[in-house]
């Protein structure tokens, strides 16, 4: 069986990965970890043709990009180490885009047997504005979706 697990820099996805590792059959199953690198404000602006007029925003943009690179490197290191220590057959993929876009595209490509997601534990108002990745995939499941909550989990 092929597990696809969505990861990000938060502890919520650690729970999801731990759960997937507990369920996985080391000899028969494989796991793909997908990290969506969300676009910054600047890159969204650039994509619609806006150009920076002031040097301050360009500097901010650059700082954001370097920060994001180091964070994504840490995340990659953390999860690859975890998979290696459990002797799993795994793949780590990083893609640019929003979590929903990235996970949708990769599920269409690799057709996993289970998609495992953590929750961001958003409250009702946050969910209204930010939107929920896990809710999207429960309502539009490309395959069986396992949603792992951050608290109270018995797994």
């Amino acid at each position: 069986m092929h597990y696809l697990v969505g990861v990000d820099a938060t502890p919520y996805s650690e729970k999801a990965v731990d759960t997937a590792i507990k369920m996985i059959d080391r000899e028969k199953d494989s796991i793909t970890l997908i990290h969506a690198l969300e676009p910054s404000q600047g890159s969204i602006a650039k994509s619609v043709g806006e150009v920076y007029s002031d040097p301050q925003s360009a500097k901010k943009e650059k700082r954001w990009k370097t920060e994001r690179k180091s964070v994504s490197h840490e995340v990659k290191q953390k999860y690859t180490d975890l998979c290696v220590s459990h002797q799993l057959s795994f793949k780590y993929v990083e893609k640019k885009g929003t979590p929903v876009e990235v996970i949708s595209k990769i599920s269409m490509k690799i057709k996993p047997d289970i998609l495992v997601l953590g929750t961001r534990n958003l409250n009702v108002v946050q969910r209204l504005f930010i939107g929920s990745v896990s809710k999207y995939f429960v309502d539009n499941p490309p395959c069986p979706v396992l949603v792992v909550p951050f608290v109270h989990s018995n797994l």
């Binding site: 289970i114 309502d139 499941p141 949603v147």
Partner: protein, 151 residues
Amino acid sequence: MVNILVAMDDHEGSTRALEKAVEIMHKDRDHITLVHAIDVGMSGLVQAAAFVDPLTGDLSTAEAIDRSEKKKAAKGVKDKCATFCATHSIKYDYVEEYGAPIEVIQKTVERLHPSVLVMGTRSLNAFQRLIIGSVSTHFVQHAPCAVMVVP
């Protein structure tokens, strides 16, 4: 040991949910429980409305017919599960209760503390989901355990 709780109804979606639950479980290690809610709410009465006595407005015949239909359907689900689990040599517990699906599943989750709750989807379209609501979405947001939704 992982405790798996699978919510069953008489739609095809829950058969797929059961198949998937069986696929992910480690047969010698994990324990599986199936829960079936027998819903004797208004929806069933509406279907049986043809049997309402036109003169007195008496619902009792309608209720009786609805209840026996529901009982038959429930037995069908129970038998289907028994056959499936026998084919795959799986030991399981079966919980059958009268009530609304959400309440019955909620109570069972609180009682058994499963590690994973597995459910199928009813293939409702967006509008239906808005009006009727989705059992699976409710549990993803409120369950104290991991929830697996099987399309």
